[in-house]
């Protein structure tokens, strides 16, 4: 160990790997994984979420699952919760558009309004 900077660099990298264990108020991506969700492709959506986070090197984000939220015809459903804000629920999510959702909603903080679940439909 030659310098403090070297130690800081190790810390920065390692922090990302354990951030999932810290209660840091990170944004949460929740994929509904009830029977309806899984049969409509929620598994593939979840895989795409992880792939995208990996590609972009995004670490401080929690990915969890939940059961059926009751809107089976809108499955697969993905909910994004940024602490302190209302949750956004996306319906009929595909592996392709979930990547766009991550970029726009999480990276650029711009929810993709046209894919949100509209309960008045």
């Amino acid at each position: 160990m030659r310098s403090l900077e070297e130690l800081k660099a190790i810390k920065e990298k390692a922090e990302k790997t354990i951030s999932v264990r810290e209660n840091t108020g990170a944004p949460t991506i929740t994929v509904a994984m009830g029977t309806c969700g899984i049969s409509n492709g929620a598994r593939e959506v979840l895989n795409a979420v992880i792939e995208e986070l990996n590609t972009r090197g995004l670490a401080n984000i929690h990915v969890t699952q939940t059961g059926c939220p009751g809107l089976c015809h809108k499955e697969p459903i993905v909910t994004i919760t940024v602490p302190g804000k209302n949750p956004y629920m996306y319906g009929k999510v595909t592996p392709e558009n979930v990547k766009k959702i991550i970029v726009q909603h999480i990276v650029n903080n711009q929810p993709v309004t046209e894919w949100l679940v509209n309960l008045e439909e």
């Binding site: 160990m1 310098s3 403090l4 264990r21 209660n23 979840l46 990996n54 969890t64 939940t66």
Partner: protein, 597 residues
């Protein structure tokens, strides 16, 4: 970087390992691979969570779901339900004994809620075999700070002002000890870590070494810088194989990253650490005996002064601190002495780790601020006494400590309060006893231990403890005389005053404190020839209550000496001459007709 959506922490401490947490981990890895989840869910081995009686423990992040007593056959359900469908497996969650509901997150469990973790902060949170995880939690930044910003004297001043005292038993101020060693002249100085944890029931040092070994290495390097030493030794008992293995891994990793070795942080400071294995003699926890043992000679204490800070290992100035003491050092440097001194009581700062054992619902390892009452520890964290029994006493300080009776449950636990009531902090073993424990028998048990572990160098300890043990054994056998009590007290005082080292000086404590608070139990053994708790076999007689006996004959069939006779459907009787007091009849009787008194 690999992103994992979930981390599954499986305890790999000694407690959970002995309840087969490794089988659970292997089964989990196998099933995750089969289901193709191994790229998104990471399995992490950690140190001890402290809740050892509920092991194997598994915690799932980011939710923080706390599963207990997980068996290999439960893994399938956890994978199918929790990891695939996102539904926590309710039946494996913790539930408070007095509540219907189960608790999902472990921060909400009573056992953890009252704790304050400083020395154990990383235990159960990081993988102790991955140095980067320690660094991610600010590890080695304290060492970086002292080398970059502080003079050795400033380091000593911070430790002094923090009020940190030795956690191994004596309670000597750590900063003062460091200052002595720093002022001692010598071309070579040493830092020694005392990991020879010998108190029956205490295992906090083992847990720190298993769960956060780098904290100890970092603290030793800081101590080395403070006193001007460049070599450290960790004296750890060979009965702690997991701790030894993790220490070896940690030392290797620290050397690879240059956090041990030459010219650390390019500041011209060299420090390295080696491990020395102890063979498990209790006396080697005494500092001078420990040093003698490192030197390769028989572990026997020597008179002090000179203290190790002046003439220690190979006659060179040496500081010797306990594992838990060291574990407190990096947080003090990182957060400042004010932070540490804000916790605890006037003369005992910070927190203390206790190993809860005996008649208590939640056995395990806890850390609380100094000054927490015994009542909080036993009832709020420990969950009270099993089977609704009555609390009788708590034994602190292991074989060197004493028993605290129920009247003193509200005492604030710190070094000075414990000493004032005739016990001591010791290393932090806390054994709880209920109404079924005989205090004379407990005193005899501890004396048997110290008598056995006495190294034999000085006569007061070698002969004195032997004579005390003989008297105590006589009392438990119903052969005690009134003079025995005065003889016990005289012997105890002589041994305390005349013994060479801490082992002998504290060995009579369990006897003195039980004589002080439970004298009536001794007197019952001596005058009435009765053991009020029903423990001492020689003083018991087994009887069958005629009015309760249905005459089933089960007791007679189970009696190994044919001491029970009678006719079917009529009350049976025990022949006291033949009875060997094995208790088989009492255990077998379905009508509670057999009693002992």
């Amino acid at each position: 970087m690999e992103f994992y959506r979930s981390h599954v922490l499986v305890c790999a401490g000694t407690g959970c390992t002995s309840s087969d947490s490794q089988l659970v981990r292997r089964e989990l890895l196998k099933q995750l691979a089969e289901k193709g989840l191994d790229k998104e869910i990471k399995v992490v081995e950690t140190g001890c969570f402290g809740f050892c009686n509920l092991g194997p423990i598994m915690v799932v992040y980011p939710e923080g779901t706390f599963y207990c007593q997980v068996k290999p056959q439960d893994v399938n359900e956890i994978v199918e339900e929790h990891f695939i469908k996102g539904r926590p497996v309710q039946r494996l969650l913790y539930h408070e004994p007095d509540k219907e509901t189960r608790t999902l997150e472990f921060d909400n469990i009573e056992f953890f809620r009252h704790q304050k973790r400083v020395a154990l902060a990383n235990c159960g949170h990081i993988n102790p075999e991955v140095i980067e995880e320690y660094i991610a939690r600010d590890g080695y930044f304290a060492l970086a700070r002292v080398l970059h910003e502080m003079t050795p004297q400033e380091v000593i001043d911070v430790i002094k002002k923090s009020g940190l005292r030795g956690r191994g038993g004596g309670g000597f101020p750590t900063g003062v000890k460091w200052e002595f060693a720093s002022k001692s002249q010598g071309d070579q100085k040493y830092v020694v870590c005392n990991a020879d944890e010998g108190d029956p029931g205490a295992f906090m040092d083992r847990s720190v070494l298993e769960g956060d070994p780098h904290a100890v290495l970092e603290a030793m390097a800081i101590a080395g810088y403070a006193i001007g030493a460049n070599q450290g030794y960790i004296y750890v008992r060979a009965e702690y194989p997991i701790a030894v293995e993790r220490l070896q891994t940690a030392i290797k990793q620290a050397r690879e990253l240059g956090l041990l070795g030459k010219n650390i942080f390019s500041k011209g400071f060299d420090f390295d650490i080696d491990i020395r294995l102890g063979a498990g003699a209790f006396v080697c926890g005494e500092e001078t005996a420990l040093l003698t043992s490192i030197e390769g000679r028989r572990g026997e204490p020597r008179p002090r002064p000179p203290f190790p800070a002046v003439a220690g290992l190979w006659g060179k100035p040496t500081i010797i601190n306990n594992v838990e003491t060291f574990a407190n050092v990096p947080p003090i440097i990182r957060n400042g002495w004010e932070w540490f001194a804000s916790m605890g009581t006037e003369k005992s700062k910070g927190t203390k780790v206790f190993a809860l054992a005996g008649k208590i619902n939640n056995t395990g390892l806890i850390e609380v601020p100094m000054g927490t009452t015994l009542r909080t520890i036993i009832y709020d964290i420990g969950g009270g006494i099993p089977k609704g029994k009555k609390f009788k006493a708590a034994q602190t300080g292991g074989p060197s400590g004493g028993c605290i009776p129920a009247e003193l449950l509200d005492i604030e636990i710190d070094y000075d309060n414990l000493t004032a009531i005739g016990s001591m902090m010791g290393s932090g073993g806390l054994i709880v006893m209920d109404e079924d424990n005989c205090m004379v028998d407990i005193a005899r048990f501890f004396l048997e231990f110290t008598q056995d572990e006495s190294c034999g160098k000085c006569p007061p300890c070698r002969i004195g403890t032997k004579r005390m043990l003989e008297i105590l054994t006589r009392i438990t056998e119903g052969k005690g005389t009134p003079e025995d009590l005065t003889n016990l007290e005289t012997l105890a005082k002589t041994i305390k005053n005349a013994s060479l080292c801490g082992l002998g000086q504290t060995a009579p404590n369990p006897v003195l404190s039980t004589l002080r608070y439970f004298r009536h139990e001794y007197e019952a053994h001596i005058y009435d020839k009765k053991c009020p708790a029903g423990v001492c076999q020689a003083l018991l007689t087994y009887k069958i209550l005629a009015e309760k006996c249905r005459g089933c004959g089960l007791c007679a069939r189970n009696c190994p000496t044919n001491a029970i006779s009678g006719k079917v459907k009529e009350p049976y009787v025990i022949d006291v001459e033949k009875c060997i007091k094995c208790g088989a009849c009492l255990e077998k009787c379905k009508f509670a007709a057999v009693i002992k008194e």
